[in-house]
Symmetry: D2
Subunit: 110 residues, 4 copies
Amino acid sequence: MSGFEELTNRLVGFAAARQWERFHTPKNLAMALAGEAGELVTELQWLSDAEIRDELAAGPLRERLADEAADVLLYLLQLCHACGIDLETAANAKIDRNEHRFPPQQEDRS
Amino acid sequence: MSGFEELTNRLVGFAAARQWERFHTPKNLAMALAGEAGELVTELQWLSDAEIRDELAAGPLRERLADEAADVLLYLLQLCHACGIDLETAANAKIDRNEHRFPPQQEDRS
Amino acid sequence: MSGFEELTNRLVGFAAARQWERFHTPKNLAMALAGEAGELVTELQWLSDAEIRDELAAGPLRERLADEAADVLLYLLQLCHACGIDLETAANAKIDRNEHRFPPQQEDRS
Amino acid sequence: MSGFEELTNRLVGFAAARQWERFHTPKNLAMALAGEAGELVTELQWLSDAEIRDELAAGPLRERLADEAADVLLYLLQLCHACGIDLETAANAKIDRNEHRFPPQQEDRS
């Protein structure tokens, strides 16, 4: 079982044990995802690139970001589960398309 | 190699081949993530729960959502890479914490 | 002075008195706006339309939403100020364009 | 009539003439707002602060941002209308609270 499937199974079991499935409509999960993306952005909004680099090295910012990034992923996986989407397959397919759409730059051989 | 690592490696190679690493600061990637979360929400904003269910069964909506969900994941993985975060570990740790924080409901045995 | 100008003046004075202008770049303000939009969405994500109607009548939800809506507007005004945009003019121009783009439905006179 | 009321009246009339009121639930409008905030962020995500300043001076970026900022405001006003919130009053009340919460810095007189 892939890491994506394992996480999804944990989330499905978690919601079922709490009878939270009725809240997990695509609309509600998309809203929850947008909310968590907003929290992630909020962590970085007043910091310069140099401050972010320094605070990541110091530690606590990385832990807060890891926590918010996890929340984004957990709602994204639940949204994909509710919509019958295989996220890992969709992500690889998107990279395939982007590789066609944006060909790598030629090296300058002048 | 896990599916998360494989996707991250593809993304890192993709950015390097196009010399796009300089754009991929934590701030910029967090903004890109918020933008893609917004696109995902936009797909669902005017539809009722019943319409979403019907359109998911018909097909095209699922493909558009899969595409947007993939974009969210790809920026999330790149953000985690830029910040030294292991997303899969962070996600499992978050579910562990949630299992403590929200104990499953007791069955009513009255 | 219009209500938009008055609010903008208060915000400009507020930031100057605290020497916060250096944080108020367009990028940072756009991130803050996205964060506040996320908080607003979060207030509604698990509620049904009927629950929202009932909770709005009861009071506290309306106050929380008013607070989040205010935050969105305050960052939006500061972003417009930082970018030299007249928000009220832009909003009226957008409605003008939408009136052309989406002509009102004809009444059915069959 | 204030500029806020005038815009709200135009939006209410616009939706009524197209029979779009049924789409304008608080949830749907909050999603539309988050989507537009995402579009605004997207305009700035790959640009440095210096590039933003230069492109604002050149023109087209300002017009695109003005258009997105207008969309954010229009959905925000419609959300407030749907929820019985007076946005201008809420915004002034929020600045009042912030003035108490964050007292201006004392000048250093050492």
